[in-house]
């Protein structure tokens, strides 16, 4: 019973993969609890699977692998957001199929702009490490207002991308977000900043989850949320670098 009470304490946060019923007063009364160690190790497993998928897609270029990876990854992300209990199964599959997508898209851009993939990888992990340091040391302090700001900006970007995607079917679109002009680069920079700040929310969620002794499967969920943000950040950095180099 206590297990079920704890399982249902998660809801939605600034990061779309987080839930809204995280109750600090309810700890998990069980043998296995969420820890920082476990979450970091599981993030390592997901990163490994993502790299494995990317290597396959990089060496065997196939549009079906790329598009299939993107679609399956999207569906799995939505499912895992609402059913965190199964994150132990869905998160590794998500990481692998997203790796297939990332490998393909990185190869396409690498052929146009040699060296862009390793630059994007370096900058993504560099951002991850520096923000983790700033968070752990207390230099960045996420508050309710911070969460509201990041949530609003993330939601706004999501709506903008959705509108642009729908408009593209009718032969038009929101031009400036894809252009390599000053507005396009400025927009990409803004999106990179928002994606990076979402990492701070992920760190805080994981930290509080471990403090409140949530169930063990939340380690997978925390690792999954970090992966979602990291993949988004990587794609946005890739887009920004492509815009900069196509000028």
């Amino acid at each position: 019973m206590a297990r079920h009470a704890a399982l249902e304490t998660f809801g939605r946060s600034g990061n779309p993969v987080f839930g809204n019923k995280f109750n600090q007063s309810q700890g998990f009364v069980g043998s296995e609890r969420m820890t920082l160690d476990g979450t970091v190790n599981k993030t390592g497993i997901l990163l490994g699977l993502c790299f494995f998928g990317a290597i396959i897609s990089w060496n065997i270029p196939n549009p079906f692998l790329m598009v299939g990876g993107a679609l399956v990854g999207f569906c799995l992300a939505i499912y895992t957001s609402f059913v965190p209990r199964n994150a132990g199964i869905t998160a590794p599959i998500y990481a692998f199929v997203k790796g297939l997508f990332l490998g393909g898209i990185s190869l396409v851009l690498e052929m146009q702009f040699p060296g862009i993939a390793i630059q994007a990888i370096g900058l993504t992990f560099g951002t991850l490490a520096s923000l983790l340091f700033f968070y752990k040391s207390g230099l960045i302090k996420p508050t309710e207002n911070f969460r509201l700001m990041i949530f609003s900006a993330t939601f706004g970007i999501m709506i903008l991308y959705l509108v642009s995607f729908v408009m593209s079917f009718f032969g038009s679109g929101i031009g400036f977000i894809h252009s390599n002009g000053i507005f396009g680069i400025g927009f990409s920079l803004f999106v990179v900043c928002i994606a990076a700040l979402n990492l701070v929310l992920d760190f805080d969620f994981i930290e509080q989850g471990a403090e409140n002794s949530l169930p063990k499967y939340m380690e997978w969920y925390g690792a999954f949320s970090l992966m979602v943000t990291l993949i988004w950040l990587y794609l946005e950095i890739l887009r920004l670098l492509a815009k900069l180099r196509s000028r």
């Binding site: 809204n20 600090q24 920082l36 060296g115 390793i118 490490a129 983790l132």
Partner: protein
């Protein structure tokens, strides 16, 4: 050269992540009154200070005095 620099950056960053990630955040981070309450969604922000004000606002401090109707 470009690949080496960014490859090294990625490797060092991952090393930092796997080591620093397992360390508990500083007291400066964890012992705060304004930490995020993950129990509520961001658009339903609780304001504890206004709650406190509304309940404690009715209490008047000081000594009670008898009112003479005359």
């Amino acid at each position: 050269m470009n690949s080496i620099i960014f490859g090294l950056l990625a490797a060092i960053s991952l090393f930092i992540f796997f080591n620093l990630g397992k360390v508990k955040a500083s007291n400066k981070q964890t012992n705060r009154d304004d930490r995020i309450n993950w129990g509520t969604p961001p658009w339903r922000k609780k304001n504890p200070s206004s709650k406190r004000d509304s309940s404690s606002g009715r209490i008047i401090e000081g000594e009670a005095e008898e009112i003479n109707k005359d």
